[in-house]
Structure formats: structure tokens, C-alpha cells
Symmetry: D2
Subunit: 291 residues, 4 copies
């Protein structure tokens, strides 16, 4: 398939490479060039501007957030001049509000929007083992299914509205961050009475909380491993903000998310924005005066 | 082994039955008689008062909370008149403060206290498949290990201090309740945008949150299944209270637990105390005006 | 002075009438006509559209929020076609972000923006007894000072940046709403032990909290007087949202405001949006199951 | 009147001195001697132990908290051996639970308990200008009214139950601490946009919040004046704890108090326990990275 791919960050790079490996024709665009060159060496062609990437059957975007996506896709004029029939597979974590705005813009140019946010970090992106939630028109999804199968281990259909997939991603990230805070609070408590952090993590991740969220972050919190972030506190703050904002029009209060937001704001204010999300749990321990 | 067993509630009954089945000599005491009679039919002997149950090599207690345990074990005079050398296996969820008080009392009569709180609901108690955290003197634990093996699928040693096991139980319950609240908040959000509750639960329990805590409570919240409680909101409030209280002397703040406490207090105030813990998640949905 | 006045709601009506009474020439515009007609009877002239009101030395705007102000002042084209030298006295409660946007737009057309949010309810607006915080260029403020003196009992200068006055208003409203919640929580507690609500209010408003915020809302909460709202829960939610939003770029966490937001969202979700702000305090009492 | 006075801390000293000045016969007891000697120089007699102070018409106690009061009044045996007819005027801030326990103990020895917690700092205690809430049997209150009039500027009757006065004190302190936090949050916000802290305090304490609570703490927060504490963070944490605890049996949730508790715990954990309560507001500013 002729694919345009915009956004070759740590996730996008692996995803695009898998599409190339599966034999697709991929034209890539990225703000900074080294990533483009790397993909070109793997068989991609380079788009001179975002608009060139839109000249495709399927455009995949994987940019940092609403603002960057807006700048690259909308403000550049690329979306406005896209050809009718284009399918846009939006795989980043974007706000519900922006997805709604995008859906309207796509309709006005005869393009189809699918929201297909991904779950997993770099290693899973490279291995083609992401989980992918997907929301959009059924026929369009059917057409891109082979691409989703290349990038992910499983596709989770959430309905015909792109917003459905977007909110699933937002809600799940909120749950992940709340799991990290809860683990940190629990560890602050058990440590203060002398339980070893690794005994604690060993226990919870083999019993009630034997799940990836805890298996990834539990040991990191226990080891105070907050560098080398795949998922930074700054991004976590952004995502909790997306959840709170999405709740507003529907009057959904999220008191645990409010606590997370306040803690993340404090962390970012004090210079921890680029630390790994595990640092949220470590803060829970340190604010009690424990090391 | 000659065992005294005090507290034949929904958990204790199954645990005592397993000890009988394994060939131990068990003398049981319970406030209400039907449970005693049931165990007697399974081969137990009935103790006329708590003190009689103390006339054993190992006394196991599995009572509702600090207050009941205090009444039955201390105020009755049973502990004070126990024989030197007795091992007391305390398997209920008790406060750190009370465990510390019990430890002193045991020392003064030459008995040994092991805290061995259990994880799992009635069905696992009956099946002998509980997880058991254990804190206490190593030699005493070694002696009761055969009993732990009969009641549980695995023993998790937390050190020589009974408090270590007690705080592990308290912290884990706090995490469980916070997982339920977070799941409810996430579902309130996704539902408000049209995602099906079962699609949501299916997704999270097969990806990031593929763990018992979520597999048990996710579907219950999705189905608004809040009756037939193994673990009630009232007990949840008690357990969150144990966590907050345990944090105080060590200056450990637990902001998520504070949110849980407030929500649970409101629920109990409005008459939901006997609902299943899943009702906490359901409240998160209902307070947004959704059914 | 030749004044354009846009926004004749419950506050604007009284403010415009005072300007007329002081001998100023006032051209008014309002979305619904009855208020216009009422002011015309008091000596105002009616503007056919917002742009006509801009044909003045000083334009005063007193609209509901960012969105309405944007629609009436910007989207209508009125601001873009204003004459150089115009002073715009913006007296509504607007977001920091929008004030910043407005300031840029004003500069581009050679107009001057003063933010002059007001403190006080309808009765004080009618009596010309408002407190007015003011931020903007000193020379412009000097020119409109006579108008501020007519509408207010006192002007509180906050500096040359309109944002300074805007954030003062937002922060003060946040404090007011938090005072109402705190009063409600305190009353829930004292009432639950049998203290009379009016004894409580009498005490606090004559001792530590002998201030307007408490003297206005304390008796209302005590009397469960939540109708006839000057300041509704919906507006309160909007204002707390302005505070939280303003904190974000500067990484200022506001944990009490987060609690207020969650409670206000719940109230609005359950249909209390048009109740008086006092209803927030009443909710604190009712959620404990007390009437 | 023949008065026993127990507890000559910073408050008690001034109160006892006023009673002496008014011509009463005062026998004082205090844990440390210098304060006793000071009062003796002013005309008091020294009690050799707490029990001697009980040999009086009215016993006044003004000790730090439940624990100290329990040690000095109960564990010493003083209360148990008091003579029938004694009136005990308990003026400290004590828990509801402990007041209830005291009431029962008093009844059993034929003494009468009045809770009469005081509002105001040292200077008001010395000047005899405290506000005094009072709960207890009407006839007993009538008898001690002359003493209350000497120590306070006004007595606020709350009913016949000592608990009524105790809970009023607890709830008011909770409100005070929440006012300090809210002021700090507001100042963090306004300062981050360039508003001067003293402009802010000047404004609020002359408009909506023109009350002692804000006039005392606003300027302190603005000036980062956190030393020389009359009321420390440690005491504030204790008092918020009294409020939360008092809410429990009546299922009264206090979400703002929960936020205060968490912040105060963090402050104490990090070594700020002996700072003035104003430090809570300063923390709200500093956690945003501002000085």
C-alpha cells in the first residue's frame, strides 16, 4: 500500500520500519532529519513537506500532541489539500476535542479519520507487538487492518467514532499513572515499617497486581530508576490533563486524576519533568522523608 | 498438630475445614453457634470459651477487626492465661498499632505472635489457595509452615516482625481499593463518550491491567454488580482507615487513600455500607449523572 | 465621556445606569432587547450592533465569559474595526489566556486594553459600590478613573499588565469558593454533634471569620438557601476552572481548587448548576446523610 | 473563688494571671517549675501535685492535648479522687472522643465537666480578650461565668453538652487552616503572574476576606514569616486530625481537611513541624518552584 508516515519519534520509527519490512511503500516526513535518513536507508522515500506525505492511500500520523499535530497537519495546509478518499490513521495520543475538530475537517475534504492510538513502549513498537485501539468507519478500518496487523499484536475495535478510541487511550493512561501513584504510596507505607521494597513488589506483581502496568513500574520505583524515560512526567501531566479536560463537557469528575495532576505539576515545577513516570511513585516515598 | 481456631466467619470456616481435612486436631470457637456446629460435623471439637481454644500448640485467630479481636482474645482473659510456648497465628487484617500492642502482650506471657494475613476471598479460603504474608520469629514460622501450606497456595515471608506482614496487607488492600476507584473513574469517562463498558473492561484486563484485581472488579463495575458482597464498602473504609492511621506516626501522606476515604465515607453515610467494594467504582460513574 | 457599553446582564445593567446618572453619554448593546430598552428609558442610546458601541472614547464590556466575549467583540468584527485610541475597559471575569490574546489584538488596532474585573453582587453594582481591581497602562487607567469612581467604591491598582487584574479576580473567586466549601464541611461536622447551624455561623462571623465572604454565605448555608442565585454553581465551576487553567503554564498546583472542581462538577452533573454557590456548602452537609 | 489551675503554657500563664488579678485564689500546677514560680510571684500558691489543684471549687485545665491531659488528670489519680461538686473547666483543644470519655469519668465522681475551648493567641490570653466557646450544664456554666468574663472578651454558649464546644473549636481550627492553604494557593497563582504579594493581601483583607484569620496569616505568608510560631504546623496537623477523626463515627467526609492533612504530614516529614502555621501557605507557593 502507498503510505505517508508523519512523525518518526521513538515510537514512529519502529512502526514505519515494520511497514517497510512488510513490503509497503512508505513516504516519511519528520521535523528533524536524522530519523528521516535512517528510514530512507531502510527503504522509505523522504517527503519534502507534510503535504507530500498526504499524497498516499493511507496517511499515518504519530506526533507528540495536539499542538504539533495541528501545526504539521493543519497549519501547514497539508490536510486542506489532501485528496478525497484518503484514510488518515491517527496513532498518537490526542485530545477528544482535537479529534472531534479533526473529524470535521476530514469530512470537509472527503478524507476519513481513524483514531488508532497505540499501547506499548519503543521495544513493542519495534517488535510490531503494540496493542492498538481503533475507532472510525468500519470500511476504512477494514482497509487499514493489514497495516494495523503489521504494527500491532492485536487490534481492539471501539466503534465507528474516532473519539471512542481516543478516550480509551486517555482513560487507560490515567489508570496507569494512578497505578504508579498508588504503588508509590503503598511502598512509602510498607517501607516505613521495614518491609523491603523488592519483597513488596515481588508480592504484589505475583498476586493481585500481576499485570504489565505493575511489573514495569513496580521494580523501577523500588530501584528509584527514574532516568532513561520512555514516558516522562511531563507527558504524564499532559495525559492526565487530557483526561480531566475530556471529563469537563460531560461533567465527569475524576478525583484521583486531580490528585495525580497536582503531584505531577509539583514534580514538573521542581524540575523533574523529564524523569520517567516511575518518579511519581518515588516522590510518594520521598515526601515522607524517606530515601 | 493441636490447633485452636477462633473466628469461623466466611473465611475462617474454609480455613479451619482444610486443617481438619489435613488431619489436624482442631478445637474451634465462634461467637455464633451454627458455624461451630458445622465444623464439629467435619471433625472439630467445640471450645466452651476462647480460653479453651488457647489450650493448644498453635492458636489461629481470624476475627473481623481490632475491636472484636480485643474483646475475644484480651478482654476475655484468654491471652493472659495462655501457656508459655503457644504460637498465635493471627490471620485477620489488623492495625499496625494493635499488632504492636499484641506483640508486647504475647511476650509478657511467653507466647509468640505471628501475623499471617491472607489474600483471597471465600472460594480461595475453601480451596486452600490463599496467598499468605507472614511476619514473625523464624523458628515459630517454621513450626506453623505445614499449617500455612494447608491453608494457602503460597507463603510470602516479610521478615521477623509481625508488623511487616500486617502493613503489607493494609497497603495491598489500599492499592486494591484505589484500583477500583481508578477503574470506575476511567469507565465514567469512556462511557460518557460512548465506549461500551464491557469493551473497556475486556481491553484493560487483557493488556496493561491483566491482573486479578481488575479481572475481579472490572466486570462487576461494568455490570453494576454491587450485591452479595465478599468485601463491603464498610470494610473497605475500615481498611483505608488502617492505612491512613499507619502512615501517621511515620509521616507518610497517602493522598489517593485520602480520596478513597472521603468517597467511602460518603457511600457509607448514604447507606451503601453493605454493598460490595465494586460499588465504589459504580459511584464514580453515577456521580456524573450516568446510569 | 462617550461610552459604549456591551453586556447588560444583572451586573452590567446597574453599572451602565450609574454611568448615565453621572452624566455620561452611553450607547448600549445587549444580546436580548429588554435590558437595552430599560437602559434607553434611563437615557442611553441603543447600538444596532456591537461595532456601533465601539464608536466611543471608552468601550466597557461586561459579558458572561470568554466565549461570549469572543463572539461579540472579536467574531463580530467589532474589535478589528475599532478606531485607534479606543480604551477598552474589560470588566468581566475572563481567563488569563484570553486576556493575553485580547491584549495582542488591541495592540494591533491601536486600542488599549484595561482589565478591570469587579467584586460584588447586583446590589453593589446598582449602588456603585463595587470593588474594582485594575490592570493596564497607567495613562489609560487615569483617563477612565472617573468612570471607575462612578461604578465602584474603590479601585485597586494591580500594575500595568491587564493579566494582573484578571488573575487577582480569578484567585479571589477561588478563595471565596473554598471558603464556602470549608464552611460547609465545618457545619457538617458541628451539626453532626448537635451544634445549631446558626450558633455556628453567629460565632465564626463574629470572630475569626468576620468578613463579607462568610457573612454572605454562612447564613445561606445554615438556612439551606440555594435559590435565587446571584452566583451559580455553574459559574463557580467556570471560575475554579479558570484558576486551575491559569496555574498550568506556571506549574502552580492548587489542590484545594482541585477538590472544589470535583465537587462542583458532581453538583452540575446532578442538576444543581443553577443553584446559588451556597449549595456547595449545603452539599458538604448532605453528603454525610444529614438534612 | 477557690480555683485550681493546671497547665501554665504560653496560653495558661496569661489566663491564670488574669484570674489572680481579679482577686481569685488560684492554686497552680505545671510540669515545669519556672512557670509555677512566675505565677507564685503574682500571688498564686503552688500545688505539689495535680491532685492538690483539684482541691478547689473550680478546676481549670489548659494542657497541650489528649495525651498530656490524660496523663496529668486521669493517670495521676487526681480526677478519681476529686470531691463531689467540683466543676472542671476544660479549656484546651481536645478530641470529641476524649471529652466524651472525660464526661463519663466526671459523672462517676460527682464532678461536672464544662468544655470551654478558647480562641486567640498569647496576647489575647494576657489581655483577657479571648473568645470562649462553652458547652456544659447550664447551672455549672452560670457559676463559672465570672471566671470566663475575666479570661475572655465574650462567651459563646453552644449548649449543655461539652462535646458541642469541643467540636466548635475543632471545626473552627480546620477552617482556619484551610483559609491559610487557600490563601497560599491564591498567592502562588497571583505571584506567578506578577502580582505583588502585599498588593494581594492588602486587597483581600480589605474586601471579601477582611477578617482576623486572613489579617493575621495573609501578611505572614506574604512575608514568608514562618518562625516564632504561636501555632505550629505540628499542632495544625494534630487539629486537622481531630476534625477528621470526629467526622468518622458520623460519616462526615471533609475533603478539604484531607488535603490539609496530607500537606501538613509532608511538611512535618520534611522537618517543618515547628514552623508557624503560615508555613503551610508558603509551601503552596514554593511547591510551584517560586521563592
Amino acid at each position: 500500500m502507498r503510505i505517508g508516515f508523519i512523525g518518526l519519534g521513538s515510537m514512529g520509527k519502529g512502526m514505519a520500519a515494520n511497514l517497510l519490512r512488510a513490503g509497503h511503500e512508505v513516504r516519511v516526513w519528520n521535523r528533524s532529519l536524522p530519523a528521516v535518513e535512517q528510514l530512507v536507508r531502510q527503504g522509505a522515500t523522504a517527503a519534502g513537506d507534510p503535504g507530500e506525505a498526504f499524497d498516499a492511500e493511507v496517511l499515518i500520523s504519530m506526533l507528540a500532541d495536539d499542538a504539533v499535530t495541528r501545526a504539521v497537519l493543519i497549519d501547514s495546509g497539508a490536510l486542506a489539500s489532501s485528496k478525497p478518499g484518503l484514510i488518515h490513521l491517527s496513532m498518537a495520543t490526542l485530545s477528544v476535542e482535537f479529534i472531534e475538530e479533526l473529524a470535521v475537517l476530514h469530512e470537509s475534504v472527503g478524507a476519513q479519520l481513524i483514531a488508532a492510538p497505540v499501547f506499548g513502549r519503543n521495544d513493542l513498537a519495534e517488535a510490531g507487538k503494540l496493542n492498538i485501539a481503533v475507532g472510525g468507519p468500519a470500511t476504512a478500518i477494514a482497509r487499514v487492518q493489514p497495516l494495523l496487523d503489521v504494527m500491532g499484536q492485536k487490534t481492539w475495535p471501539m466503534g465507528e467514532d474516532p473519539v471512542n478510541a481516543a478516550i480509551l487511550k486517555i482513560a487507560t493512561n490515567m489508570m496507569l499513572i494512578s497505578a504508579i501513584e498508588a504503588t508509590g504510596e503503598a511502598m512509602a507505607l510498607t517501607q516505613s515499617y521495614g518491609v523491603g521494597n523488592s519483597d513488596f513488589v515481588e508480592f504484589i506483581t505475583n498476586t493481585l497486581f500481576a499485570a504489565p502496568a505493575y511489573k514495569v513500574y513496580g521494580p523501577k520505583i523500588a530501584a528509584r530508576e527514574t532516568e532513561g524515560a520512555g514516558f516522562t512526567l511531563r507527558l504524564g501531566l499532559k495525559d492526565v490533563g487530557l483526561a480531566l479536560k475530556a471529563g469537563e463537557p460531560n461533567h465527569v469528575s475524576l478525583p484521583v486524576a486531580s490528585v495525580l495532576r497536582d503531584n505531577l505539576l509539583d514534580a514538573v515545577a521542581l524540575g523533574e519533568g523529564e524523569s520517567d513516570l516511575a518518579a511519581l511513585g518515588v516522590r510518594a516515598i520521598r515526601r515522607s522523608g524517606q530515601e
